[in-house]
């Protein structure tokens, strides 16, 4: 058996942090994605402009840079805002918060495009039928539109989640105790980099496989109303 020098449980703890980070960012990203898509499809020019700027900027700069900007930049922004209100203590945001913000923003930017495509793929007749049945805007959205958008968007969102899962490794650079950082710590004491980075790679692969299977089942459940000939 492979000897992990007692760092096995450390790596597992790291895996829990990685999964927590991935899910927290997923939630933030899904909300941002839906908001972004609604803004892009809205008739208000300013909202369209903001959403376009958001997706262009976030998708054009490296994820690592986003993480670094949020982690190092948010502190000074928060402090200068707080000092306007007369609060001069040192404010620090943690690596986890910075990670969720950065990865959520990234996921949201890509999810905006996925949701926009899905929203546009719903025939106009569906909207009209729902309105004709007397549904209000909100009810129409969660009864008719959202279930269909969900089905259309799931494959794209699944891919984005796999990307997100791998991007979580970047947050180790600012000191979050995820799989990657636990592996770094283990390497610095045991001097066996190949062993521990391979172990980390295996853990990411397992997480990837589990997510792929989960997405597959969710896709099947979401499209149960659609029979394949």
């Amino acid at each position: 058996m492979i000897d992990l020098h007692g760092f096995g449980d450390q790596l597992l703890q790291g895996a829990i942090i990685t999964v927590e980070l991935a899910f927290a960012s997923l939630v933030v990203g899904l909300i941002l994605g839906l908001l972004g898509a609604s803004a892009k499809l809205s008739s208000i020019k300013v909202l369209q402009w903001i959403a376009n700027a958001y997706t262009t900027i976030i998708r054009g700069i490296p994820e690592l840079l986003t993480v670094l900007i949020i982690y190092f930049g948010a502190t000074s922004v928060l402090m200068s805002v707080a000092s306007l209100f007369g609060y001069d203590e040192y404010i620090e945001i943690g690596a986890f918060t910075a990670g969720v913000t950065a990865l959520g923003l990234t996921f949201g930017a890509y999810a905006t495009e996925v949701f926009r495509g899905a929203l546009q793929s719903i025939p106009k007749g569906q909207h009209e039928a729902a309105t004709a049945m007397g549904m209000g805007k909100v009810r129409k959205f969660y009864r008719i539109i959202l279930p269909q958008v969900w089905r259309m968007a799931l494959p794209g969102l699944g891919n984005l989640f796999l990307v997100l899962l791998k991007d979580t490794a970047l947050v180790s650079v600012v000191g979050l105790d995820d799989i990657m950082r636990k592996a770094n710590i283990a390497v610095s004491t045991t001097k066996e980099p190949f062993l521990f980075y391979s172990a980390a790679a295996c853990m990411y692969l397992i997480l990837t496989i589990v997510s792929m299977v989960a997405v597959h089942y969710m896709e099947q459940k979401a499209s149960r109303g659609i029979k394949r000939a």
Binding site: I61, L68, G73, P193
Partner: protein, 236 residues
């Protein structure tokens, strides 16, 4: 906000951008060269041939690029055999380690893109090739690969931009690419927002240039799909 720092350190950032450019260019060229045989093996009819590219692609697409870089840069040095081999002068250099990791990574993604493009070519065209008596090599060289090249372009442009963004990870193995240079400057000036934003703008500009280039190439490559411009002679 003090943007005078950006102006005084801008030449250094451009030095970093040059390293980023070299990293991206070398790894996408090498990656594309490796990707073609991987893609062709991936669509082989023999399951034994298919399984290796499948595992290769699965590993490189399923693990973070950061792990892959660390495996090459730190991992290789665990073994005395590697340290004594002729490859050590290369594996000692962070630049070449980054190139190796990026090339392996992008070749896996590119292989999948190539495979998708080759499989997207209608069966009728393959049949037509066989009917006119082309050999396999002729079919690939004359019909399938040029056709695949046109199909591949949009996805391949995206892959290059992903590689550009991935290249920021080179800064984690002490390379002074655009991100690495920004971090070095910040360590001295302590102005994270200004310098990181400047680096972000440079990345944005590079991506926009890549997008513009690909639009042109795509237009040229797929010009047979565009609107037909036939000059109708005036009725005299």
């Amino acid at each position: 906000m003090e943007f005078s720092v950006v102006i005084s350190y801008f030449p250094r950032l451009l030095d970093g951008a040059w390293v980023t450019f070299q990293l991206v260019l070398l790894s996408i060229v090498l990656g594309a060269i490796f990707a073609l045989p991987i893609a062709l093996a991936r669509i082989s009819s023999s399951p034994l041939v298919r399984v290796f590219p499948f595992l290769y692609i699965f590993f490189f697409r399923g693990t973070p690029l950061l792990v892959q870089i660390f495996l090459v840069y730190y991992g290789a040095s665990q073994f005395e055999v590697v340290k004594e081999s002729i490859f050590w002068p290369i594996l000692r250099e962070p630049f070449w380690c980054a190139i190796i990791a990026f090339t392996l990574n992008t070749s896996a993604y590119t292989a999948e893109i190539f495979r998708g493009a080759i499989q997207a070519i209608p069966v009728g065209e393959v049949e037509a090739c066989k009917v006119v008596g082309m050999t396999r090599v002729q079919m690939y060289r004359r019909i399938l690969l040029p056709r695949a090249f046109g199909i591949v372009l949009p996805a391949y442009g995206n892959e290059i931009i992903l590689m550009l963004k991935g290249s920021a990870l080179a800064s984690t193995i002490t390379l002074l690419d655009l991100t690495g240079m920004a971090r070095t400057i910040i360590a001295r000036t302590y102005t994270p927002i200004e310098i990181f934003l400047a680096a972000g703008v440079i990345y944005l500009v590079i991506s926009m240039v890549i997008i513009a280039i690909f639009k042109q190439v795509e237009k040229r490559q797929n010009r047979y799909l565009g609107p037909i411009n036939v000059k109708v002679p005036d009725k005299g």
